[in-house]
């Protein structure tokens, strides 16, 4: 084998690297390496002149491999690999030595920094010395998308993608689309009716020829990778044939079982057979298997007897379907932080202490009280209502450390709505501070205070308890320094938003990361806000972090745009740095098969075989194999060994 001809390019990154690392010395030391025939340093390697210098040097010196000592490969690896390709050599012969994040930024001493930068660069040179000239693998693309979650985020993303011509599969766990937005009464800051703006979109989704809606379904397993995912979806039985169901409501009239209505957040009850609400999509009833007396004509069977359309079928069974999609959008939304966690506010056991969503239902014209604000315990009009912001938010000691972002606005909305419903009532709002950044938001809060006359008290509520038919609320007004005691008829908690249980499940199934609070982790907080860390899986809505409707819709649109861009390619190029099996060393112990997170390895005649299209080159198999029988191309045992040697030298 002829000796490699490697070029080393050391970047100053302005002062980012050059302040702590003697870059000229790094370049000089590298030129002494056996395989290095060219080395230089430059102020900004990633600038246009910098890149051109790389290309020119490759051509002028017949370089066959390149090392760029600069920032993290997550930033500019692609840039420099593209440069290598443009200069006519394989992009995979280019290695990045990270001397910024892993060196310059963590050291203060220039000598120490320089020594380390030399070692890092030298190890990259050794690795590059054994890199193969690989070419990307072309992978066909499935031009279908799966959207998980049928709330506003999922609906918006589905519509945007379907309108661009992609086939969309919209999977929703509940019996109907709509999510939390459908439970809202009005939306801030314009106070337009939530259902009225959402239901047209739901109708559009259900009628769209490119969208298949799968309600009452759960994604159980996802395999494959970008461009070619395989999703196993569980269709839970509704026991009602939506084609036959005439929505006559005869069944609910005879059903003897009464359970709390989830859609109304327990403020009302429903039967075991039910339709969540009038505009439900699909427009059909669902028989709640857990609540039903037993799906058996001997035990009850009343609904089946009364159904003239013969739509009810007790013999429906769960069904699993496998769907192939090229990309996935996760829009699994939020849940409210549980009231039972808030001891200071009565663990959710004090009557007439409601959460924000329950209050929405009280204000909603379609709600249990037909839009009259009545307190649940005695159906009287509450005259003193206390709204408590940051219930569970911004409390790192006990609850969620983060700000739930939307509570300031929706509490202002609640106070405003309440005052519109009960003009002679008093609305008290306890707040830490008001965060109303957004178009028209600050003006809305000001209107609530000044025009609607809501009383804003800066401080926290320390305790509340039931006192006769009132709720005693003890708090502090930190602006006057006075203790405040209010005899309230009703209390509304602006509970923190937390990732929904479905979000946790989806993260598990999709093997995508979550942040410390459990929200789905984006690939980069600034530059890749809608991408998950796994290629081909995108994020939308409150599953990624607390956000309001406009932001959710914007993010859904962004995720859709990313999917459209991805799937508009005829083939995807897959990195060829995949695992390779040394058959003679493989004993077929199957450990790599189990360890592979991408299901890319299988046993064939007692030996491991890698599916190169599925393999992401993560190296889990290499780490697991006791016999060094499997290794990743361009990160071979030999390369790792020499890199270690270079660092220790």
């Amino acid at each position: 084998m002829t000796k490699k001809r490697t070029g080393v390019f050391v970047c100053h990154c302005g002062n980012n690297i050059a302040a702590t690392v003697d870059v000229a010395r790094v370049a000089k030391e590298m030129s002494a390496e056996e395989t290095v025939v060219y080395s230089q340093d430059y102020v900004y390697m990633c600038s246009d002149p910098g890149q051109n210098a790389v290309i020119q040097a490759i051509k002028d010196n017949q370089l066959d491999s390149v090392v760029v000592s600069c920032c993290s490969p997550s930033l500019h690896e692609k840039t420099f690999r593209d440069n290598a390709t443009r200069a006519g050599i394989s992009g995979f012969t280019c290695e990045i030595a990270n001397i910024r994040e892993q060196c310059a930024w963590v050291h203060k001493d220039r000598d120490v920094g320089t020594e380390k930068a030399i070692k890092i660069s030298r190890s990259a040179v050794r690795r590059a010395g054994r890199n193969q000239s690989l070419e990307p693998i072309a992978v066909p693309v499935t031009r279908r998308v799966m959207v998980i979650g049928g709330g506003i985020a999922g609906i918006q993303a589905s519509l945007d993608m379907a309108n661009a011509g992609l086939e969309v599969l919209l999977v929703e766990k509940q019996a109907t689309l709509g999510g939390h937005m459908l439970q809202l009464s009005e939306t801030f800051p314009t106070l337009d009716c939530s259902q009225c703006i959402l239901s047209p979109k739901m109708v559009e989704v259900s009628r769209h020829p490119k969208i298949t809606v799968m309600t009452y379904c759960e994604v159980q397993e996802v395999s494959g990778s970008v461009g070619n995912f395989k999703a196993k979806i569980l269709k839970k039985p509704t026991f009602v044939d939506p084609e036959k169901c005439k929505i006559c409501d005869d069944c609910t009239q005879v059903c003897p079982v009464v359970v709390p209505n989830e859609y109304e957040l327990g403020l009302t009850a429903r039967r075991a057979i039910y339709i969540p609400y009038a505009q439900a999509i699909p427009a059909s009833y669902t028989l709640d298997e857990d609540a039903c007396l037993g799906l058996n004509p001997i035990r009850c069977g009343k609904c089946k007897d009364v159904c003239e359309a013969e739509a009810i079928n007790y013999d429906m069974r769960p069904e699993t379907v496998v769907e192939e999609v090229g990309a996935i959008v996760v829009a699994t939304g939020f849940d409210l932080y549980g009231q039972e966690n808030l001891g200071e506010y009565g663990y959710g056991k004090v009557e007439d202490v409601l959460d924000g969503l329950q209050f929405e239902r009280l204000c909603s014209a379609s709600g249990a009280t037909s839009g009259h604000v009545l307190r649940p315990s005695d159906h009287k009009v509450p005259k003193d209502v206390v709204f408590i912001q940051c219930a569970g938010s911004r409390d790192p000691a006990q609850h969620c450390a983060y700000c739930s972002k939307i509570c300031c606005m929706y509490t202002a909305k609640h106070a405003s709505l309440y005052k519109h419903h009960v003009p002679d009532g008093r609305a008290y709002v306890f707040y830490i501070d008001i965060r109303s950044g957004g178009k028209g938001y600050e003006e809305f809060v000001q209107r609530t205070m000044e025009e609607d006359g809501a009383i804003y008290l800066r401080g926290r509520v320390s305790k509340l308890y039931r006192h006769n038919d009132k709720i005693k609320v003890l708090g502090t007004d930190t602006l006057t320094g006075q203790n405040v005691e209010i005899d309230a008829d009703m209390v509304v908690l602006a509970l923190a938003m937390q990732p929904s249980k479905g979000t946790a499940d989806a993260a598990k199934v999709l093997k995508i990361g979550r942040d410390k609070d459990g929200f789905l982790a984006e690939a980069h907080p600034k530059l890749k806000p809608v991408e998950s860390v796994t290629a081909g899986i995108f994020l939308a809505g409150a599953a990624q972090g607390p956000k309001d409707i406009p932001e959710t819709v914007a993010q859904a649109g962004a995720a859709a745009a990313k999917v459209i861009a991805l799937l508009s390619q005829a083939t995807l190029s897959h990195a060829p740095t995949v695992a390779r099996v040394r058959r003679s060393h493989c004993t077929g112990c199957e450990m790599c098969v189990t360890a592979c997170p991408y299901h890319a390895i299988r046993l064939e005649n007692g030996k491991a075989v890698v599916n190169e299209v599925l393999c992401e080159g993560c190296g889990s198999c290499t780490a697991t194999c006791l016999r060094a029988a499997i290794e990743v191309k361009n990160a071979t045992q030999m390369q790792v060994f020499e890199m270690i040697e270079a660092c220790l030298a």
């Binding site: 084998m1 004993t587 077929g588 199957e590 450990m591 360890a595 060094a628 030999m638």
Partner: protein, 343 residues
């Protein structure tokens, strides 16, 4: 107490009926008291089999040797091979099957429960006998019955038994085709990991000094590796001399062999060897203690493997050799792993 005759009858029966091609068991050794491994193929030989407190050897090793010999001869036998297996041996067999080294139907397991006993340690016995020559040693309940030239001596079994037997959590071979003896899994002679806990009570500096001393003495005879049924790789990653020469190995790779560990038996290389071995045995070592028994310079190797075993148990609730179909420790993860450091 197990009647050795029942094991002999089972072996004779299997061979006579042609159900197995051989039986791996123990016979009386050439050094009087000690048992030694034997492979019998003739029903007549069944009476040579023995069962006593000197049956230390993990016979699973001979299943590995058998498979290697078959692979070398390119032969696929149509009959299984039978093996006498203690609790620990059976767990080793389970791990090997878990790793698909051989199939369940290829092995007929004659399980023998250690009941309340186990195997003895020669030096512990010698110390108690005060120089007397032992001719046989059998465990009877809580006592070890030793026959010496001067007559029978009864000693408390707990004082002569191996640490690993005292700490054993599963003296009963759960995986078996036939089994002799009572299932006394719940016995608690000494709490598991006692020896390890005693050692870990030392300070970090003392432990480091201790291991430096131990590994300075290692002569790299590889007896620990040779006796271990889990070390079945044809080529060991620590052998820089033979490492990877395969049909697809390039000439360049052959010329530049990776030497993770140098051949010289110096401390740094010895430490790397033993650490590598401990890591490769994590979740696979079933604590048969053979490595420690065969070490000619008495390095307490069991402590290393025990440490890994306890980590696996505490962080991941993992028990090696628990089930053939179960996932292996290093290749799998569960969302409910108790390990706090994994999220």
């Amino acid at each position: 107490m197990i009647d050795v005759q029942s094991i002999r009858d089972a072996a004779r029966d299997l061979l006579a009926k042609g159900e197995v091609r051989a039986v791996i068991g123990y016979q009386r050794g050439s050094r009087g008291m000690l048992a030694e491994p034997v492979t019998i193929t003739d029903p007549e030989q069944a009476d040579e089999l023995v069962w006593d407190a000197t049956c230390f050897h993990n016979l699973a090793l001979y299943l590995v040797e058998d498979r290697k010999a078959l692979a070398h001869a390119q032969r696929t036998p149509n009959l299984p091979i039978a093996i006498v297996a203690k609790g620990c041996d059976a767990r080793a067999i389970v791990v090997l099957m878990q790793e698909h080294y051989f199939k369940r139907e290829d092995v007929y397991i004659i399980g023998v429960s250690c009941e309340g006993g186990g195997v003895l340690v020669e030096y512990k016995l010698a110390r108690l006998l005060n120089g007397a020559q032992a001719l046989s040693a059998v465990i009877d309940g809580a006592e070890l019955v030793v026959t010496t030239l001067a007559g029978e001596v009864r000693l408390p079994a707990s004082e002569v038994m191996a640490d690993r037997c005292l700490e054993c959590r599963e003296p009963f071979p759960k995986e078996h085709n036939v089994v002799f003896g009572e299932d006394q899994t719940s016995r608690q002679l000494v709490a598991p990991f006692t020896a390890l806990a005693r050692f870990e009570a030392l300070s970090e500096a003392d432990r480091w000094a201790y291991w430096c001393r131990q590994f300075e003495r290692c002569i790299r005879c590889f007896a620990c590796r040779s006796v271990c049924p889990m070390c079945y790789c044809d080529e060991c990653v620590v052998d820089s001399i033979t490492f990877p020469v395969a049909p697809e190995t390039t000439a360049e790779e052959k010329a530049n062999r990776i030497r993770w560990i140098e051949r010289s038996a110096v401390r740094s290389e010895n430490i790397t060897y033993h650490m590598t071995r401990a890591m490769h045995l994590a979740g696979r070592c079933i604590d048969c203690g053979e490595c420690e028994r065969v070490c000619p310079v008495n390095i307490p190797l069991r402590l290393l493997n025990n440490k890994m075993e306890r980590e696996a148990r505490e962080h991941f609730g993992y028990e090696p050799g628990a089930s053939i179909g179960g996932p292996s420790l290093v290749a799998s993860f569960r969302d409910d792993d108790p390990g706090q450091f994994i999220r």
